[in-house]
């Protein structure tokens, strides 16, 4: 019964994935015959490519910001919205809303908000007298990456809130009641009950967000296309440009192998964390 799935999956997922590994050992412009170069592409990536190093650095910074803020916000909002009342459900629905939009729409909407001349963000800063904060968010090498990170957090926080709410609602209510009786403050309750009990959910949220941030492409492509001066370039935009703008297919494949390794490492780390602390299989 699994035959159709296995057939499509093998031919259009596994086979390309294996071929990708082979491409990574070749020098190939897509026209002339590919030339075997062994591990040259990887050596070049690791030692001789300042741009790729910068892009990996960008991606790490992007990931750290998104993971920290998205996880903190969603955990905070989930503790606020834990009980099922009309207001909390409405707020969860509102927060989730950006998740259903396409990333291109989100990217283009935020391009408008960030516009230095008539964008809503700078207009708001000027209206409250903070003219100094009316910066060229997407057009300045110093801010472009962070501006996109803010958009990413806006985009997916609501989805993580839902995951956290589902996780936190599993915590037995009598734990909180007992803590209340013992006179524990809100902060103590959070520290000693919510945080440790929510750790498995946090592992899921952090791993998912990390992988999503390393796979990010759409927002960058629709907002800055990696610019200015590669200041917002990420690994996948780099793979795309190396292959389809510079026609260095082998070199782009080598970059994508780096991406696979990152994702595998994060997945392994998540599994390990879950297994050690909770015996989850």
């Amino acid at each position: 019964m699994a035959f159709p799935a296995v057939a499509v999956y093998s031919f259009l997922y596994l086979y390309p994935a294996i071929q990708n590994l082979l491409y990574a050992t070749e020098r190939w412009d897509g026209v002339t015959k590919p030339e075997q170069v062994g591990f040259h592409n990887f050596a070049h990536l690791a030692t001789d490519d300042d741009l790729f190093m910068k892009i990996v650095g960008n991606n790490i910074r992007f990931t750290l910001i998104v993971v920290i803020f998205q996880t903190a916000f969603s955990l905070l909002f989930a503790t606020f919205l834990l009980k099922n009342t009309k207001t909390t459900i409405l707020l969860r629905v509102i927060y989730f809303f950006p998740t259903i939009l396409s990333s291109v729409s989100v990217g283009l909407i935020w391009t408008f908000l960030y516009n230095p001349n008539f964008g809503f963000i700078n207009a708001s800063f000027k209206a409250i007298g903070l003219d100094g904060l009316a910066l060229n968010w997407l057009g300045d090498t110093r801010y472009s990456l962070y501006a996109i990170a803010v958009t990413q957090v806006w985009f997916h926080t609501g989805q993580m809130v839902i995951i956290y709410v589902a996780g936190l609602q599993q915590i037995p209510a009598d734990l909180y009641e007992a803590a209340e009786v013992d006179g524990a403050s809100r902060w103590q309750q959070f520290k000693s009950i919510t945080w440790p009990m929510a750790l498995p959910t946090t592992a899921v949220v952090v791993a998912y967000t990390t992988i999503q941030s390393f796979r990010a492409f759409d927002l960058v492509y629709s907002m800055t296309q990696g610019g200015p001066l590669n200041s917002s370039d990420l690994i996948v935009t780099s793979i795309y440009n190396t292959a389809f703008a510079s026609f260095k297919y082998g070199y782009a494949s080598a970059q994508s192998v780096v991406l696979i390794l990152v994702v595998l490492f994060v997945t392994w780390l998540q599994r390990r964390t879950l297994r050690i602390d909770y015996g989850v299989k």
């Binding site: 019964m1 799935a5 499509v8 997922y13 606020f80 259903i100 909407i109 908000l113 809100r186 994508s256």
Partner: protein, 271 residues
Amino acid sequence: MLYKVFKNSLLTLFAMAVIVPSSIVVLGSFKKDNEIYSDPLALPKSWSFNNFRTLITEGNVFTPFKNSVIVSVFSVAITLLFASLAAYGIARMVTITGRLLFLLFSLGLAIPGQVNIIPIYHLFVKLHLTNSLLGLILVNIALTLPISIFILTSFFKDIPKEMYEVAGIDGAGHFRIYRSIALPLSRPALGATGIFLFVICWNDLLYPLMLITQLDKKTLPLTLIDFRGEFATSYSMLFTAIMVASVPMIAMYIFMQRSFIAGLTAGAVKG
């Protein structure tokens, strides 16, 4: 007290952060450009559907809309069929075959779909599947099979074993049990997974960007990207196009909120 103020202001702030940009887009689709630039949150001077009219007659948004519907509907339907068959097999086969199959599809979860863009591109050039909706459908199916099988397998495993066994004793074969027991009992799961897949297919940018260059084969995300260049300063047209592209999602979200949230959340947790 302080806690309440902190909590309520933070909750309101983030709600505003979602509502304000959305309102700008909705209102903007009824406005002229200069109205958007001068006061993006004001109500339009007159509510007119001129932007929508212009978009449909000149902006060429009908074809990409149709293409997106075709690609998404077929991708989701076929993926659900193939994935549910495979998931049923895996859930019922406690033998080594079932485990191997599961392992095989788990590989797909570990390898992000983006890394396949280069080999897929060259394969599709060879097979004449570039500039083809069929090509996009095939890519979508391949990319979403692992996660769909993952989600559906866990649902099929949750169905009590006795349900399957009783049907088996009554002489039903595997296909019969799949069709009359597994599928009907997991309808909510299929619905949620279907919505999750639909959102992925409807919003996908990377593969269409690489595989589609012909105007009459473009999907909505590609057309939206083109708007940025074509109407460099016309945000009224861009917002109108975003409205058109988002309407199916918003309609689904309003009418099937529970499945929608369940689907997208399951996709994240199980992935």
